[in-house]
Amino acid sequence: MQAARSPTLASLSRVTHRYGPVLALEGLDLEVRRGEVLGVLGPNGAGKTTAISLLLGSLQVQEGVASVFGSAPGAAEVRVRRGAMLQISGISANLTVREHIELFRAYYPAPFSASRLLALAGLEDLARRRYGKLSGGQKQRVMFALALAGDPELLFLDEPTTGLDVDARHRLWNEIRALRESGRTTVLTTHNLDEADALADRVVVIHNGRRIAEGTPAEIKSRTAGRLARCVTRIAPDAVASLPGVVEARTRGQHLEALTTQPEVLVRELLVRDEALADLTVVAAGLEEAFLALTRDTT
């Protein structure tokens, strides 16, 4: 893979971070390579935003090393070359889109032109509107424009498509692809496997503050392509867990739940072993289950 040979632009190494007694990151290693779109994937609360905040210098590193362009993440020379879209609740409601863009452009030595930013974020018709009067999706687009204001080499997008409708989401995806074509590097956090699949060259999966998988989207998907079988049965979870392909089996309420990579084998066995088995469903495993499978793999 070409990205694998590219130099590292930013990295976290053996980073551990605590909020009081709560362990948010535990010995996390993360590498961002030049020119790639790196997907940082994980369920809510996995530690994605903490990792991004450390790379942005908005959190102080407690243990381990964070480095961007070979410098400390908060260094002035780093801030000039990087842009970020964060999960924040808003910017000044009383300023117009154009005013916000003008202000952020002023922060950088060689910014994109205002008209280019408006076009990139699809905001041409909204330039004179006050931020407070925009819809949620339009506000997200303003944040995207502000992240791009300085023509950054390295772009951090923290859950950029939260709150966007399907059209707006696909439009943003296209913009991110176009940025990649122009040689820029993007770090994208998401809890949406499809989004990582659509955009990322490489995916790092974080769960409970640890990196539990890393690879191309295809590799990650193949490892999480499990099915979840649910049924009411007298067969014990332990017995099911020892069947071929079963990653995890547990009791939830009256139901047995089994996560498996070979659903046909599992269902055949279950039906043979328990003629009274009832209420059987088999569904594609959700991301939560996929993470469970990955966690299971690594322990």
Binding site: L56, G57, S58, Q60, G74, A75, A76, E77, R79, V80, R82, G83, A84, L86, Q87, I88, S89, G90, I91, S92, N94, L95, E99, E102, L103, F104, A106, Y107, Y108, P109, R130, L146, G150, F156
Partner: protein
């Protein structure tokens, strides 16, 4: 960063801070009109009934202090705490914006709002109440009043550094109105019981008001260096408290720009 770009950032940040606040009627209308309404009532309507113009002259100075105090406390205290809550500060921290530009913008906004209030009060005093001062007194009074932005912004900064976005407005109100009253901005403190007079001596607004009253020879007769020393000391204490608050919270506005 080139000096030219730095200057431009300071300027734009200040311009948009002022615009932002001007466009917020919930902030702009009360802070601009409240001192004026007080002055119209107590200075013009009530104050001009007697033979002398002592009352309208006296309250011109003290309501002027009140008018400068509001924008500084609300802009810095409530505004800053709110921007930290919403994440605006967090976002700006990731950009090359110098932290100084942010503080400068807030001080400038407080100064401009203060200047508007003072100008409105002066016009009302001169034309509606007939207050007559020497030309140097008008200028000196305006200068003294606007200089009050510095200690009051420091106080607002300390509040903003420690209070959360929602509680900051409440804390500012708890400081703003009681301090205005206890410092003698509405009624001279010699009308208060002794205990309350002692409290006034601890308040920056009292010392600021005394300096303003000194210009029109209506102060309580304490020394200018004493008032200045208290104001400087209290400003330093507020700035220290603010620095502690920021260090505790997130380190922003404390960061050295390398």
């Amino acid at each position: 960063m080139t000096p030219g770009r730095r200057f431009r950032i300071y300027l734009l940040e200040a311009r948009f801070q002022v615009l932002e606040v001007l466009r917020e009627p919930m902030f702009a209308i009360p802070t601009l009109t409240f001192p004026l309404i007080l002055y119209l009532f107590f200075g013009v309507i009530m104050g001009t009934r007697g033979v002398s113009l002592a009352v309208p002259t006296y309250v011109l100075a003290t309501y002027g202090v009140f008018g400068v105090l509001g924008p500084a406390l609300f802009g810095f205290g409530a505004g800053l705490a709110n921007e930290r809550d919403t994440g605006v500060l967090l976002l700006k921290q990731t950009t090359p914006m110098p932290a100084g530009a942010y503080l400068f913008a807030k001080v400038m906004a407080a100064l401009i709002f203060g200047a508007i209030v003072v100008a409105a009060l002066f016009l009302t005093a001169a034309h509606a109440a007939g207050v007559a001062l020497y030309r140097w007194q008008w200028f000196a009074l305006a200068g003294v009043l606007l200089a009050g932005v510095i200690p009051f912004c420091a106080l607002g900064l300390a509040i903003g550094a420690w209070a959360g976005g929602r509680s900051a407005v409440a804390v500012v109100n708890l400081v703003f109105l009681p301090m205005a009253m206890l410092a003698g901005l509405w009624l001279p403190i010699y009308m208060f019981p002794d205990v309350m007079q002692d409290i006034a001596l601890a308040l920056p607004a009292y010392h600021h008001a005394q300096l303003a009253l000194k210009v029109i020879a209506m102060d309580a007769g304490q020394s200018v260096p004493m008032h200045l020393a208290v104001l400087v000391a209290e400003t330093l204490v507020f700035l220290g408290l603010a620095a502690l608050g920021f260090r505790r919270a997130d380190g922003f506005l404390m960061r050295r720009s390398r």
